[in-house]
Subunit: 246 residues, 2 copies
Amino acid sequence: MSWRKEERRAERGYHHGNLKEALLQAALGLIAEKGAAGFTFADAARMAGVSAAAPYRHFRDRDELLSSIAQRGFEQFEARLTAAWDDGRPDTVTAFERVGRAYLAFAREEPAFYNAMFESGLPVDANAALQAASERAFNVIRAAAERLAALAPPGAPRPPAMMMALHIWSMAHGVASLFSRGDAARRKLPMSPDELLEAEVLIYLRGLGFPTERRPQAKSAEPPPVPPEAPSGSGVPPGGPWGKPK
Amino acid sequence: MSWRKEERRAERGYHHGNLKEALLQAALGLIAEKGAAGFTFADAARMAGVSAAAPYRHFRDRDELLSSIAQRGFEQFEARLTAAWDDGRPDTVTAFERVGRAYLAFAREEPAFYNAMFESGLPVDANAALQAASERAFNVIRAAAERLAALAPPGAPRPPAMMMALHIWSMAHGVASLFSRGDAARRKLPMSPDELLEAEVLIYLRGLGFPTERRPQAKSAEPPPVPPEAPSGSGVPPGGPWGKPK
DNA sequence: AGCTCATGTGAACGGCTTTTACATGAGCCG
DNA sequence: CGGCTCATGTAAAAGCCGTTCACATGAGCT
């Protein structure tokens, strides 16, 4: 197999042709394997079949490659959250929970992106484009929270949508960081991270007085009536959001 | 100032006397400054005034030093959470929220420990002692949740204490990670991380049907009556847990 | 065909981690 | 007190990484 390098060189010639992309892909794989801390610029170059100095033609330094990956991650993240939200269909609460699950799914299925985005220790404001991408992703949650806030039961003071969005974000991020990723997933739990987060969000929404049942809503007209008997029993499946304790 | 090294050597002689401790302290300072990723074994040695090879007499490798710090961190963390809980005085809900604030305070005031414990990327199960220390810290939250669960309003199904503990942990960790530490703290927020977490926990507890007012409770006898008018107004300060929207 | 400039190479520097052979001296034993 | 021993520290070296620099290559334009 020692002809590999020469052959690769012969195949591609002196110039790679698409090195930037190849480096991003290589780095993605390496980060998925060994984490952002273990990832090495030289390794990525080797994997792409170029010398250790070549990457510097495309990235100022290792950090810039990392933050490029983080930026892409935020873009894909935004796309997945947007798809999960699906403009609040079929009803706001259901869609909202789907966003929560999408958050966890992303953390689980794209560990490299998630790592670069949230665990690589690179400063949020290092790159203006990065920060913007991060904000766009958050804005999906924020917009969803706004729709949800608009459905708040009348009478009670309306919760600020921004606060709700931050709360949901912190729940999803907390569960993902602690229980849903790599080594952390090895902590033994009585339930899956998905179930854990779903219950958490349901209880939270109930605390805000929302009906937490899932059924189609009027488009955006009158909010469904809150059962007058007591919000604590409103529409939650029997046993509450956490199922029956055995 | 170039006599410094020789003088230090003269002061301490060939043997340091307390190198292990000195290295831990040096590492703590370095991690606080530059994060666990930027921290360097060689730097710690330099700071302690010894050669780069000396640390290997006390730690198998860099990771072992890191996990020693994480372990100490979990011990101090446990102590602070235990103090905050204060065995549920003056009432369970108040004490519970104090635990939440203690979580954030620790993340803020001991960034080096927090970093080593949660952000250094070292596997949770690398070290049995580390894992045990981590579990002891979590058990404080768990025990508090158990006391809280015992106060659950009668009639409704009782929430599993373990689940509550995990929920609270994820909220505190999410807020700390996203908003309360280093670079992340630079995200602009409409409220302080402490307020954010407090509101989050209050809403969550209300979602479980808990009275979220703060007033002395009977020792552990009958839970205070839930005002029959509506849990959504029960004891929460005017404006709800989030203050008045302006 | 010739030129130019983006892209890739190899060598070199300094720094880090870890290992190895050797140095030192604190504490114990006789 | 004298000598031994072993924990603790040192210097040197190997191997890796990030980064820079002068130089090579060849794709695309004129």
